[in-house]
Subunit: 332 residues, 2 copies
């Protein structure tokens, strides 16, 4: 077995804390540092803050100092905006650390932010480390899984992914993000303000298109509320008939007017038939369904941790799920 | 786009010929040579022999001469026994060619044939090329797909895969291989003679166990006939009630008496509910089903071709599906 992989956790919001819980359970990783800018968290034991056992690792607000420690990789869960995390990424790469981040835009940033990409890619190569954005979505369900399923196809003409979720079982911030409990007018206002929508569809579409060699003309997204017909509720939110139970988000990648890639997220309280379905149309056409769907919070954290090992043997540079070795769980 | 990938096809049985048909349809590959020891085939155009268009590539029985051509990789489909194809593999590697083979034993040969593995691994590294055994099974459904699905799991305790096939739609050799149309006594005799069984289960189990870091005590396999209750038939074979319609094969990998990995193949004429189901038991437990199942003949050939690109950026040596970059279809 290779030696334990030393990891620094950067960002201790809900996802960062769950990652710490999960890291503490995995034999192949050792948490050697924890960074958060919140002065309330500095000095505390990261395990205790995160709801697991004392880990003997003190949270620090001084990233520069923590990054001097010997470590293979940083897990970065500070922000969804690549532009905003760019200085943090640069600091990690300069310190010779590989990075796995849940930043959705990092999953496939080459077309939207080519300059940042070139610079990060070069910096990673110079320091012989690799950089990856992943999670459950983007990172798995709507991009890497359809790609991998296409391995057994001689021809692919079209890809569709449907993620249907009962949002009642998710965390409150997720339920808020899909507009549960809002009136249709509030939904509309919050949507216009940019608060209601899953980020990552465009990244998933572009990752698939790139890997397949498809040159898309455009990517379009739309969001609409799912209106409750009867009363519905989660542990946190009551929804009256006529209010929003959640949302339906569609994204499509077009070539010459044809939607080659179609992604659909239905996430609302009380969805009667949650499932994740990937359909590859081609030779052969095949459709894969995970009944009940994949739990997004567990899956994102697990994906990040499981990607650490693959990243260790990936080529240096800014990588995607399509060009690192196959990721998988490891119990050792 | 990277330049076209030049490929030599070695072995022109049914699978080799189908590969030639498929290669002729794929823009990213160029077939530059074809090898078969059958003197009846030598000198013929490999495209015409394989039921596709004339490809301008003459079949040769002289492997040494064909392997002098500039090519990236050889697709080797000559035999299921690693010991028997060993000299062919060595010849390809010495000629500086990467190899993808449908040889089932090559999918994970490290435990059963460690000496051959060390020698092939070293030879591949010396020549800066890579060597991979893959196909639909082993290579995808019962090993790489469960591994990849486990990427979103924080814990895995057990893996089961069920492949249920209606063999009536498969090729005659496949129907023969599962014993369709035999009496139970004939089935038993042919099974004892080693004719009736799918090779590759042990390889799939060992590949999963290795990637998961599970040390298994033993791997057990069993085969039993599926007896037709009513008359059933394919285009080739009539089965009377009481005769064998096909088989059920089980393989299990045990640790301390517990079956951690359980693979089941049911393949018989008239199977009412064909499907491929992978279940990862853990946190979360998830079960993925491809209704109708994956067509084995198409999938094996597609997998081999789609693996060529991943192999180009894999590290040199004897590789497995668990340590090459994610495989996927490519239309460019």
């Amino acid at each position: 077995m290779p030696a334990q992989l030393k990891v620094v956790q950067m960002g201790l919001g809900p996802i960062g804390q769950r990652l710490v819980q999960y890291l503490a359970q995995r034999p192949f990783v050792e948490l050697v540092g924890a960074i958060d800018i919140d002065p309330q968290k500095a000095g505390r034991d990261v395990g205790l803050l995160s709801g697991t056992r004392e880990l003997g690792v003190e949270i620090s607000a001084d990233a520069g100092q923590v990054l001097q420690r010997q470590a293979h990789a940083v897990i970065l869960t500070t922000d969804s905006s690549l532009a905003r995390i760019r200085p943090q990424l640069e600091e990690c790469l300069r310190a010779g650390k590989s990075v796995v981040s849940t930043c959705e835009e990092l999953a496939y940033p080459f077309e939207d932010q080519p300059e940042i990409c070139s610079q990060l890619d070069e910096l990673a190569r110079q320091n012989s480390v690799a950089l990856l954005g992943t999670g459950v979505n983007p990172g798995f369900l709507m991009d890497a899984l359809p790609l991998f399923l296409s391995s057994v196809c001689q021809q692919v003409t079209r890809v569709t992914v449907e993620r249907h979720q009962d949002a009642a079982i998710r965390r409150l911030p997720f339920q808020r993000k899909i507009g549960a409990g809002l009136s249709p007018e509030e939904f509309d206002a919050q949507y216009r303000a940019g608060h209601l929508r899953h980020v990552g569809f465009a990244q998933s579409i572009r990752l698939i298109a790139h890997a397949f060699g498809w040159h898309l003309d455009r990517v379009e997204e739309s969001v609409e509320p799912v209106i409750a017909r009867g009363p519905t509720a989660s542990a946190f939110i009551q929804v009256a008939p006529g209010q929003c139970a959640g949302l339906r988000q569609l994204a499509r990648g077009y070539r010459r007017g044809e939607a080659l890639i179609a992604l659909e997220l239905e996430a609302y309280l009380g969805h009667p038939a949650p499932r994740d379905t990937v359909t590859i149309h081609g030779q052969p056409t095949l459709s894969s369904t995970i009944q009940g769907g994949v739990d997004g919070d567990i899956a994102t954290c697990a994906m990040v941790i499981n990607a650490l090992q693959a990243l260790r043997s990936a080529r240096p540079g800014l990588r995607t799920m399509a060009d690192i070795p196959l990721t998988h769980w490891c119990g050792a």
